[in-house]
């Protein structure tokens, strides 16, 4: 019993890692620009298709990660310049416009790649697993995901808190008007941060491709998971993403083990709603000045 519980706990850890990988890009965009990208799931999907193409051309996941980052960041650039830059002051309508972007992306990818599923193999080095406890080995690929999640969070922290660009980002986030008065091109910061966040979604797609068949509709459930992570963790502090991801991932896995996955999701959702009653802006949320 305890053994099974511990192994479930470890699996939950990797589920949390997947949530963090999916949510970090979204959190960065939402934290700075205040908009939520409803096409986030489709951005992840585009990243996964990029990985599939790289795989067909003979590359592996390690090659797919930078390629997907660039491809989806460029996609983010197009979306930001084409649509979102006009409606930053209407966050609710951004939801609708980006939902439309998501639909268009799904149709486009279906036209280009056809309705069939693509399968992407994990890199050869990450085959097999390590046996921590019990019979079942813990796949190396899951360990890789946990490591990658940590790297992505640390890299984002470094970018925001240790670079010149990050200083400007924080200035814009704290007080947009003042930052603009001091000569920071706030529109450019928004654009770059949107590209960065989109690129992270691309990475998420590239590393999720080997654990799930690649299809045009794969992204939506990941995206909803990411939204929940942000709602629970809050965007006031980047540590909200790993915290929220950990709580949701572990909660869903352990409850799914006890009951079933739908009940697990339902209970976690109820828990989240109750939690935001206590922390209305997420666990690490700050109370924005309006």
């Amino acid at each position: 019993m305890t053994q099974a519980l511990i192994s479930q706990f470890l699996i939950g850890f990797s589920v949390a890692a997947i949530l963090v990988i999916g949510a970090i890009g979204l959190a960065v965009i939402f934290g700075v620009a205040g908009v939520i990208n409803m096409a986030h799931g489709q951005f992840i999907m585009v990243g996964a298709y990029t990985a599939a193409v790289v795989g067909q051309l003979g590359g592996n996941t390690f090659l797919a990660i930078p390629v997907a980052f660039v491809v989806v960041a460029l996609l983010g650039l197009v979306v930001e310049r084409g649509i979102i830059q006009w409606i930053y002051d209407r966050p609710l309508e951004t939801l609708l416009a980006t939902w439309g972007v998501g639909i268009i992306l799904e149709v486009l990818m279906k036209v280009i790649f056809g309705p069939e599923l693509y399968y992407v193999g994990a890199p050869r080095i990450l085959d097999g697993g390590v046996r921590f406890i019990g019979r079942l080995p813990y796949p190396y690929y899951r360990l890789f995901l946990i490591g990658l999640a940590a790297v992505m969070v640390l890299a984002t922290l470094y970018l925001i808190f240790r670079t010149d660009f990050g200083l400007k980002v924080r200035a814009v986030r704290r007080n947009r008007a003042m930052a603009g008065c001091l000569g920071i091109d706030t529109a450019r910061i928004d654009m770059l941060i949107f590209m960065y966040g989109s690129g992270l979604a691309g990475i998420a797609g590239a590393v999720l491709a080997p654990i799930k068949s690649v299809s045009t509709t794969m992204g939506f459930s990941y995206a909803v998971g990411s939204y929940m992570v942000i709602v629970l963790g809050g965007v006031g502090n980047l540590l909200g993403v790993p915290t929220g991801g950990f709580l949701i991932g572990e909660g869903e896995t352990l409850l799914a083990y006890k009951f079933n996955s739908v009940i697990g999701q339902l209970l976690v959702f109820v828990a989240i709603v109750i939690a935001i009653r206590v922390f209305p802006r997420g666990i690490f949320g700050y109370h924005e000045r309006r």
């Binding site: 939520i36 609710l92 939801l95 609708l96």
Partner: protein, 393 residues
């Protein structure tokens, strides 16, 4: 004291909505008459009749979204939850009753999808649904109650805007997965089909009556004092709070009204169409309702009706042509186009345009604008400085 009372009474009557113009009444009556007589010139069993009743249900659904989004500023991406719950209650009840008269292949008198999933008899908690009136009551009361609980949890803590949209979206997704998972009780992927539905003129009139009633309720609500407060909350909730209004309670109230309307629309839909599936409770349908409202024009009452009929009608026309496979693509373009170029929707944009026309000729408008600009400039200038348009020699 008496004077004060009569004074506020006078102010209130002055604030009362403008009298409905006679052409609007006539036009409304004409539309209702056209829809009501549709079975006579289209035949009782035509596909268009089915479509018409369906569109009316969708229009009520869009109206319910308009009440919370257009008039109060709460964007819910999970309104289909209430529509879906209402629809499932009615569909289950009709299905159970249908099964009582039409036994399954093995002679059992309970819904066939339950039999396929290995149930031996109707589950005990579903037996009350044999009574259809009770099921209808459940179909509208339970969603309203759920909306109340949701409202108490979120709005009381000032959770609104993007957070509310995302949470409701997740709610909708979870309900959809719940329906698929518990297929023994909900029909799962196939939904609930094969029960006697009510297509025909009498039920169309019933739907039409409910639609008109909801329209009038919505009109009365939005043109009352409550409606004014709701619009104030939409435009600036902090200021509304400071003026002493309990913003959370107003939000909860309108959210419950909206959920009630959605649920009623779902109940009518299930009884009319004869098939209910998990898609009717899912996030895609929720967002579709929002886009109907946006296309027609939010914060107008005609807008949702127009939007639902236009978008759904367009979809129907396109789905029979070669464009059927790319319908989703146009839907996406529509989302973006509406948000970018006509954020007020068709009715809103048209109405604003007409109002501008009515204000007078171009000359008059220009003069008015000049005066306004002069006033504005006066506020900026220090005392003693030459006024705009003044000769300084």
């Amino acid at each position: 004291m008496v004077m004060a009372g009569s004074g506020t009474g006078g102010a209130r009557s002055a604030r009362r909505a403008r009298f409905v113009p006679i052409w609007a009444l006539l036009l409304g009556a004409l539309v209702v008459a056209l829809i009501g007589t549709f079975p006579y010139y289209a035949g009782d069993s035509s596909y268009l009749l089915l479509l018409l009743g369906k569109f009316l249900c969708f229009a009520i659904f869009a109206l319910s979204i308009d009440l919370i989004w257009g008039f109060t500023g709460i964007l819910s991406l999970g309104q289909a939850v209430y529509f879906g719950i209402g629809a499932y209650f009615v569909a289950l009840s009709l299905k159970i009753n249908y099964a009582l008269e039409h036994p399954t292949r093995y002679g059992n008198k309970f819904p066939d999808f339950m039999e396929w999933n290995g149930l031996k008899e109707l589950p005990g908690f579903m037996t009350p649904l044999i009574s259809t009136p009770l099921a209808v009551l459940c179909a509208v009361a339970i969603p309203t109650f759920l909306a109340f609980i949701f409202g108490v949890i979120t709005f009381k803590r000032h959770i609104y805007g993007v957070y509310c949209a995302v949470i409701t979206l997740a709610e909708s997704l979870i309900l959809q997965e719940f329906i698929i998972e518990y297929q023994a009780y909900t029909g799962g992927f196939n939904g609930i089909t094969d029960y006697s539905n009510y297509v025909g003129a009498p039920f169309l009139w019933f739907i039409l009556a409910v639609t008109v009633a909801f329209f009038l309720i919505a009109r009365a609500l939005t043109h009352s004092r409550i409606g004014t407060v709701l619009k104030a909350i939409r435009d600036n909730d902090v200021r509304a709070e400071f003026m002493g209004y309990n913003v959370a309670n107003y939000r909860i109230f309108v959210f419950c009204v909206s959920a009630f309307m959605s649920a009623a629309a779902g109940a009518l839909y299930a009884a009319w169409v004869g098939i209910v599936s998990f898609l009717d409770a899912g996030p895609v349908f929720s967002v579709e309702g929002v886009i109907w409202t946006a296309v027609g024009g939010r914060a107008t009452l005609i807008g949702p009706f127009l939007g639902a009929f236009l978008v759904r009608g367009l979809e129907f026309l396109l789905s029979s042509s070669w464009l059927a496979n790319y319908w989703q693509f146009f839907m996406g373009i529509l989302f973006i186009a509406v948000v970018l170029w006509i954020p007020d929707g068709l009715v809103g944009t048209l109405g604003g345009w007409l109002r501008k026309r009515r204000r007078g000729t171009l000359e008059q408008i220009r003069e008015e604008q000049d005066l306004l600009a002069r006033d504005r400039q006066r506020d900026w200038e220090p005392a003693g400085a030459p006024k705009a348009g003044e000769e300084t020699v």
